[in-house]
């Protein structure tokens, strides 16, 4: 009796969830944003802070609109995006290749480990003064700083992913006559992909941080420079607007770049880290 009831309820619950999924699940993530916006509007209406400490919602929208109409906003966004994508592409490529080399070779891993720990610890903004001297300010500088951040994240996730692929998958392919290259191509690469994608996801996030940091001082265009320039004129509306744009682009990339990749790969294969709850 109770057994049957217990078997029935999860099925019914998941059926109900499937039915409401398009409506509720798509809109639900907007709630916290709505709440923050509402709090902002309410606070502004009640406390009436000076525009320097917190601008009004409509001022932020207006400032962004002005910049957009003048064409400045597009220049900043495009400059930032170019740097970000270059840096991330470089970081992901080198991180995945390096991660494979190290993940597949224990002696090499042990040989390189201290070097990696060393440079990982001093990665980040510490490089800035030195690198300005080497690369000047502009795209190369930002790309270097982004690469320096993304590489370590993707690299470490890839190493972990490669090492965690079950040995028996490799043996299965070897018993079918597959050589080293075949096992790497058809076992290690897809097997490590959940970790590589996790690395890519956090890499993108930290890539943005590195980008803005680099642009604050080492660029003449870009969203970071737009924000930094606004601080000189106490234009908090532009500062907040810039942050909003960064966040929105990040969400868009997550939805339209990362999610489709995941849906075609790890989710399709039942390997996504949150797939357990679906089973």
């Amino acid at each position: 009796m109770s057994n049957a009831a217990m078997e029935g309820s999860p099925a019914r619950r998941s059926a109900a969830r499937r039915w409401t999924a398009p409506l509720v699940w798509r809109l639900l993530p907007l709630t916290p944003f709505t709440l923050i916006l509402a709090a902002w509007v309410a606070y502004w209406a009640i406390a009436q802070p000076s525009a320097e400490t917190l601008p009004a919602v409509q001022d932020v929208a207006g400032a962004m609109w002005d910049l957009a109409v003048k064409g400045e906003l597009a220049v900043h966004v495009l400059a930032s995006l170019l740097r970000l994508l270059l840096g991330v592409a470089l970081g992901v490529t080198t991180g995945v290749i390096g991660g494979f080399i190290v993940g597949l070779n224990r002696p090499i891993a042990e040989f390189l480990n201290p070097l990696i720990v060393f440079f990982n610890a001093i990665s980040g903004i510490v490089w800035l003064p030195l690198v300005i001297g080497w690369l000047g300010i502009g795209t190369a500088l930002a790309v270097f700083l982004i690469w320096n951040t993304v590489f370590f994240i993707v690299f470490q996730n890839t190493v972990l992913g490669v090492q965690l692929v079950p040995k028996v998958y490799e043996q299965g392919v070897e018993a079918l006559g597959g050589g080293r290259w075949e096992t790497i191509r058809s076992v290690i690469l897809p097997g490590a992909s959940p970790y590589i994608l996790t690395g890519l996801r956090s890499g993108l996030g930290f890539g943005w941080r590195a980008l803005i940091a680099a642009e604050l001082v080492g660029a003449t265009t870009g969203l970071g420079q737009m924000i930094f320039g606004a601080t000189e004129y106490h234009r908090s509306d532009i500062i907040i607007g810039g942050c909003l744009i960064i966040g929105l682009i990040a969400i868009a990339m997550d939805r339209w770049l990362l999610l489709p990749i995941e849906q075609r790969t790890v989710r399709r294969w039942g390997l996504a880290f949150d797939a357990r709850s679906e089973e």
Partner: protein, 276 residues
Amino acid sequence: MPDDMAKSTQNKIVVSGFRHVFETDDGPVQATDRVDLSIRAGEFVTLVGPSGCGKTTLLKALAGFIRPTEGSILCDGATVLGPGRDRGVVFQELAILPWRTVRRNIGHGLEIARVPRAAREATVGRLIELTGLAGFEERYPHELSGGMRQRVAVARTWAADPDVILMDEPFAAVDAMTRLTLQEELVRLCGATGKTVFFITHSVDEAVFLADRVLVMTRRPGRIKAAIDVPGRAAGRDWESFKIDSAMQAIVEQVLRLVREERGATAPAASAAVTK
């Protein structure tokens, strides 16, 4: 197949004095102790023995994943130096790839052997029919039941057309009803192809039902303690008649007794060391 008779008397696999010791952090663990056995071409040999007695170790050595600490393993007269497509393996953990569809898992061996697409699809299609996977060709393993995954694992190994097939408790993880079906399917598949099969199980019924010959292993460190011939596999077997065949049931009893002896008197030292 005029030389079938000659072939069936030939030894496909010869293991002599196979002793294996694993070096672990807690010191050496001796898995097997001088295993001697030979398997004729086209023969179906099953191996039973208590858990942890070294069955998988022996199979992995036959497959070429483990180098013997001592002794030799020959396949077709040549020392086994590594895995190869002449010896297919169905692993205890199945090892079918989650990122390949049923079709692409089964065709993987042929893909590796660079068999042209049309020929590959023909073989895969035939095996899909034979194993009752029709309609599931484009599914991924996580979308299948345990029994179906099992069939994919067997079909994948079969498709590569190895001379020897090594199977490690392949039906242990499926439910009892499915297991009976799979066993009958395997009997039919083997009858049709005349492969040399080495099959590990901990089920005595299964061991006798499938085999030309049942090998019984001692507890760890494992040795082969007995070999029992089971006549009449060529005529085909099904569970219904197997269960009422008194000759067969006598063999089951005999094997059961041999296995029980090993379970009963486990020395305390040995039982403490068995971890898997």
